[in-house]
């Protein structure tokens, strides 16, 4: 019962962990370069959740000072994650650009085919 | 002899070979000027080194610090009697060897002679710097420079077998030095807090257990691969692919003597002979060196290649010196020091002869030498004299070093070592004399006995140096006393109470009480 309660009150952490592990698994297990990037994106996204979960306070408002409200959410993690999203997008864009170039150079985006075309790297 | 103070002379001794190297490079298009530069440089070095002698005999210890690399680790020099002897040997023989090299290299038509002379000069510079070193770090530095600068000399021929030998040479010398010598230095640094060569030894007051002392001794004895202690000796026979002048100066004098000199210096100034004898940590090295002496001699018996036989003989003779150090009595240290000189002069003569035979008749195997004494009487006479000196027969220099070594063995706890010296002398006879006998008493193939043959010696520049060194063997018998005096100036103890010649206390027993 206790575990169940811990699960119920901390479910967003479990979602975070699930996304994290699933993303990492896709990166490792898939041979398709685009799918790998999808996994990588998923992995990064899980972090956004990790940061935002403790920052959002139930019943809290945006931190704009007003005598009517006493509870505020923490703005800092939100800002950090805004930055992290930018970094993630940039990474994904660069990754996809590389895949396009790899496809031009090798005619495939499958890791196994690339290795067989070049011999062992 | 020269109107400079000793520190300037020490700097000059190390710098002149390097300056010579620059001139050799500048004159690489005109061989006569190039060889002229070598000769002038070598003569200058010999003169400088001899000029240092009076000061040392008078008890001065000139020294200076070049640069401190990190705290406690500096490149510093200080000249003391042991280093003086080594510097005299290396510095003087470089000149004779240069004369010999010119004759040999031109006659044999070796390629890349500029590179050869440059590496030679750098090697001599680092040998002298090693002889002058004040601490283990400086010694280690120049030890490595010596390995690196002689590597191109070993691979000089450029053939596949020369490359292979070069690999063995470099891997073994650098390998042992980095893997064992360096940890040894670090060990001394951490245990004693200093790596300066100190009379009486820096480890004397360090309260180290016999196990630690024995372990450190092993790191040095094996780490100084140039001393060719069994089982790290096989680089020396391999290095014989080098041109003979290289074998002569580097593998009978500079490189191998740098090894035994380092061992000797470490034993005397790092461990201190009392530390070793009291802890008994030197025992295993006594046995190992004894084994090496006998084993290498037996292996030498079976070599048909003249240079290979001489190489194994060198391995055996080097172990004499290591044994002298390992016995760690005042007399054995004197004997070992003397043997550095005597063996250097004798062995360089033998290598000169081997080279002369090669350039004159292209013969490398002992079985080809039948009757060659009739063609090359001067060379083979020199060979005979040097052989007798190595065997230790009077009236040649080798007598004295063996005498002191045997006395040292009697002083020590390891009296069986006397027997080792005697047996090995017999083995020396067995592997050196047949060469002489073959040369003088066997008939020259294809020539009727009794018919006169025309002399066919090597070029004069080869024959003169080898005759001079052979005469040196003879002279050293009569002037051994100054050399021994110098060797006895080595400060074995911190208080200077007992210098060489008297017996140290062995397990609380003094020889005078016995």
């Amino acid at each position: 019962m206790e575990q169940l309660e811990a699960f119920a009150t901390h479910y967003n952490y479990f979602i975070t962990i699930f996304l994290m592990v699933a993303g990492l698994y896709i990166v490792i297990a898939r041979g398709n370069l685009i799918k790998k990037l999808v996994g990588l994106s998923l992995f990064q996204t899980s972090i956004y959740l990790l940061y935002l979960t403790p920052a959002k306070i139930i019943g809290g408002t945006p931190p704009i000072y007003d005598p009517a409200y006493a509870t505020y959410s923490n703005p800092l993690p939100h800002v950090l994650i805004l930055t992290a999203i930018v970094v993630g997008v940039a990474t994904l864009a660069l990754g996809l650009a590389l895949v396009v170039r790899i496809h031009e150079a090798y005619g495939t985006v499958e890791e196994d085919d690339i290795i067989s075309k070049d011999g062992q790297l | 002899m020269l109107p400079f103070d000793d520190v300037t002379l020490m700097m000059a001794a190390m710098a002149v070979p390097l300056i010579t190297a620059v001139f050799i490079l500048l004159f690489h298009k005109t061989p006569n000027l190039r060889e002229g530069a070598t000769l002038i440089g070598a003569a200058a070095v010999a003169l400088i080194v001899w000029s240092l002698l009076p000061g040392i005999m008078a008890g001065e210890r000139p020294g200076f610090e070049l640069v401190q690399v990190v705290p406690g680790l500096s490149i510093a020099f200080e000249l003391e009697p042991l280093g003086m002897i080594f510097a005299l040997v290396a510095g003087s023989l470089w000149f004779l060897n240069s004369v010999y090299s010119i004759g040999y290299m031109r006659k044999a038509g070796e390629p890349r002679q500029t590179q050869f002379y440059i590496c030679f000069a750098v090697a001599i510079s680092s040998t002298l710097a090693l002889a002058f070193s004040k601490n283990l770090f400086s010694m280690f530095l120049f030890y490595e420079v010596l390995s690196l600068s002689t590597y191109p000399l070993v691979t000089h021929k450029g053939t596949e077998s020369a490359m292979k030998a070069g690999r063995v040479y470099l891997m073994l010398l650098m390998g042992t030095s980095i893997a064992l010598f360096l940890p040894g230095i670090v060990g001394v640094y951490v245990i004693a807090g200093s790596i300066d060569f100190t009379p009486g030894g820096v480890l004397a007051d360090a309260q180290a257990t016999p196990f630690v002392i024995g372990g450190l001794l092993a790191l040095f004895a094996f780490g100084i691969g140039k001393a060719a202690v069994v089982p790290f000796h096989f680089w020396l026979p391999a290095a014989m692919v080098a041109p003979t002048p290289v074998s002569a100066l580097l593998h009978a004098v500079a490189v191998v003597k740098a090894g035994v000199f380092s061992v000797m210096k470490v034993v005397v100034y790092i461990f201190g002979i009392d530390t070793l004898t009291v802890s008994g940590a030197n025992g295993w090295l006594v046995y190992l060196a004894s084994f090496g002496i006998i084993m290498a001699s037996i292996v030498a018996l079976n070599q048909d290649n003249l240079k290979a036989r001489l190489a194994y003989s060198t391995v055996s003779q080097l172990s004499y010196i290591v044994l002298g150090a390992a016995l760690a009595t005042a007399t054995s240290i004197t004997g070992g020091t003397l043997h550095i000189v005597m063996h250097a002069v004798g062995k360089i003569t033998l290598f000169f002869c081997a080279g002369a035979i090669y350039v004159a008749h292209k013969k490398t195997e002992i079985s080809q030498l039948d009757g060659i004494g009739r063609l090359m009487p001067f060379t083979m006479a020199a060979f005979l004299i040097a052989s007798l000196s190595l065997i230790g027969l009077p009236p040649f220099g080798g007598t004295w070093s063996k005498w002191f070594l045997a006395l040292g063995a009697l002083d020590s706890q390891y009296q069986f070592a006397v027997a080792v010296f005697m047996i090995s002398s017999l083995l020396n006879v067995a592997y050196l004399m047949p060469i002489v006998m073959r040369a003088f008493f066997k008939p020259l193939p294809g020539v009727e006995t009794g018919t006169p043959v025309k002399m066919a010696e090597a070029p004069l520049t080869c024959v003169v140096p080898l005759c001079l060194t052979a005469i040196g063997c003879l002279v050293l018998f009569f002037v051994a006393e100054p050399v021994a005096d110098l060797a006895q100036l080595i400060e074995l103890r911190a208080d200077g109470t007992q210098t060489a010649g008297s017996t140290p206390p062995v397990l609380g027993l003094n020889a005078n009480d016995r």
């Binding site: 994290m20 990492l24 990166v27 370069l33 790998k36 990588l40 992995f43 990064q44 972090i47 990790l50 940061y51 403790p54 800092l76 993690p77 950090l80 930055t83 992290a84 970094v87 940039a90 990474t91 660069l94 990754g95 590389l98 895949v99 170039r101 790899i102 150079a105 090798y106 690339i114 070049d118 790297l121 | 640069v67 690399v69 990190v70 680790l73 490149i75 770090f137 280690f140 530095l141 490595e144 420079v145 690196l148 691979t155 450029g158 490359m163 690999r167 470099l170 891997m171 650098m174 390998g175 980095i178 893997a179 064992l180 360096l182 940890p183 670090v186 060990g187 640094y189 951490v190």
Partner: protein, 498 residues
């Protein structure tokens, strides 16, 4: 100067950042090179003056961005270590720039040359930012700026394998950075702060039952940064990335990128966690030592069997990073000094070595061992310098490499770990084998093919290499600027350990 003096930490970042902005809009590669050169030569002046100030005052330089004081705003805090690494990075950049022009002109398509310089400047921005910042999240942003620029630089290599190498590095690097962010997030949740020193203060008063979360954070952070610094066995991206990147990219990255990641690891372990978590109780140091020893041997042995000289040196880099992390793992004065001084020494040695190969690539277009045979006969200056730098890599006394090894071995023996001392020196023997093999190929074989026609390059390429090789020798004798400062930095860092 006095007006600028207080703003040096931010200038160190703004100069390359704005230079990057301008070069991105330039069409001519040479013009972009000119601007990059100016920027690269200004930076060492800034970095050195900061280092002098820190050493002179004995106090770190604190720069509050927008006048927001810690822990509310981002604060740049420059101590001896940070300034030391910044000097290394900027000096290598400055020395390498003259080399860059011909090398880039020969290897990169004309229309993207200016963008290549943009990438270089952005990479420099990120690396310098990490050394300046005192903020954990800010460090992540800079890490990613430099990494993204690096991926692009590598992808511009001539061979199509460069693309795959860049992709591999992108995946590994992003995983590393993400793990780092997870660690930072956990720390933020536990302490409510992102400032390294503020975190350290708050951890010191943390109740012990909360420590498990912090230790989890330590795990994430260390693994994340280890990926970036190519700690064995997380090094697989490095050999390909270095081997197929354009020569100038390899030259710059080999000397700086992993070194800055090492800086971050040291910062985390000693400045942040060292204060609260008794590092002896956590097996992190032991794990570091095991991984380092494995790197020293396995990567060195891989180097021995390489047929491409550039990849060989790349594997050697993995091994050398092992020496650095080993010194970190020893966590005593001598060991940490050894690690820091090796950061410096390996930086200059490896840069010189890759410059040598870059010159070979410029002349003969390849770095395969078979194509390099006998090239020492036709390019004696370049290859002679290469071998000298190789001796530094082995750690021959009289070169900078020896000084690092000395401190590391002393550090190991002081711990009483003789076995480790022997492992350090034994692994150096493997370096003799691969450097010896390279030497044999380039000097003792007959020149064939393109190597027979090669000759020493123009001075603009040769001089930077010679400067670094001379520095390798110089820092083997005078160590007041390398080991001296490293020792000061090590003392500062170890002050934080209980």
């Amino acid at each position: 100067m006095t007006a600028v003096q207080p703003h040096l930490p931010i200038l160190l970042i703004l100069v390359p950042l704005f230079a990057a902005l301008f070069t991105a809009f330039m069409r001519s590669g040479n013009a972009a090179w000119g601007l990059t050169l100016v920027a690269s030569w200004v930076l060492p002046v800034i970095a050195v003056s900061m280092l002098l100030e820190v050493i002179g005052s004995g106090q770190p330089i604190v720069y509050e961005l927008g006048n927001w004081e810690a822990p509310f705003g981002i604060v740049y805090r420059v101590d001896t270590l940070g300034a030391f690494v910044a000097v290394l990075v900027t000096v290598i950049g400055a020395v390498a720039m003259p080399f860059a022009r011909l090398s880039v002109a020969c290897e990169i398509d004309a229309h993207v040359q200016s963008w290549y310089y943009t990438m270089y400047l952005l990479c420099l921005t990120g690396l310098l930012g990490i050394t300046m910042t005192g903020d954990a999240f800010n460090a992540f942003v800079f890490l990613e700026i430099s990494s993204l620029a690096t991926y692009a630089m590598i992808a511009m290599g001539q061979h199509r394998r460069a693309l795959v190498a860049a992709y591999q590095y992108l995946i590994m690097g992003t995983i590393g950075a993400t793990l780092y962010v997870i660690g930072v997030g956990l720390l933020y949740v536990m302490t409510g702060s992102l400032n390294f020193y503020d975190i350290a203060d708050r951890l010191a008063t943390m109740p012990p039952e909360q420590l498990p979360s912090v230790i989890t954070a330590v795990g994430f952070l260390v693994v994340g940064v280890s990926l970036k610094l190519a700690l064995f066995p997380m090094h697989v991206w490095l050999p390909n990335a270095y081997a197929y990147a354009p020569s100038f990219g390899t030259v710059f990255l080999a000397g700086t990128a992993t070194k800055v990641a090492v800086y971050l690891l040291i910062r985390l372990l000693f400045s942040v966690f060292g204060v609260v978590i008794d590092l002896d109780d956590l097996p992190i140091l032991e794990i570091l030592i095991v991984a380092s020893v494995a790197a020293m041997f396995i990567a060195s042995i891989s180097a021995v069997f390489e047929t491409n000289a550039k990849r060989m040196l790349a594997y050697s880099s993995v091994a050398q990073v092992g020496y650095i992390t080993l010194g970190i793992g020893l966590a005593n004065q001598s060991g940490l000094t050894g690690a820091l001084v090796h950061v410096f020494n390996h930086g200059i040695i490896k840069t010189a070595l890759f410059m040598g190969l870059g010159i070979a690539a410029y002349r003969i277009g390849t770095c395969r061992m078979t194509d390099l045979s006998g090239i020492g006969r036709t390019m004696p200056l370049t290859m002679g310098a290469l071998v000298l730098a190789g001796l530094g890599l082995i750690g021959v006394p009289g070169t900078a490499g020896f000084v690092s090894k000395w401190y590391l071995v002393v550090g190991a023996v002081e711990q009483g770990w003789w076995w480790l001392a022997f492992l350090i020196v034994l692994s150096s023997l493997i370096a003799i084998v691969y450097i010896g093999r390279l030497t044999e190929v380039i000097f003792f074989r007959e020149p064939t093919g393109a190597a027979a026609e090669a000759k020493d390059p123009p001075w603009s390429m040769l001089a930077p290499m010679l400067v670094l090789v001379l520095a390798t020798v110089y820092f083997g004798f005078d160590t007041s600027w390398s080991a001296g400062i490293a020792a000061t930095a090590a003392t500062e860092l170890l002050g934080g350990i209980k």
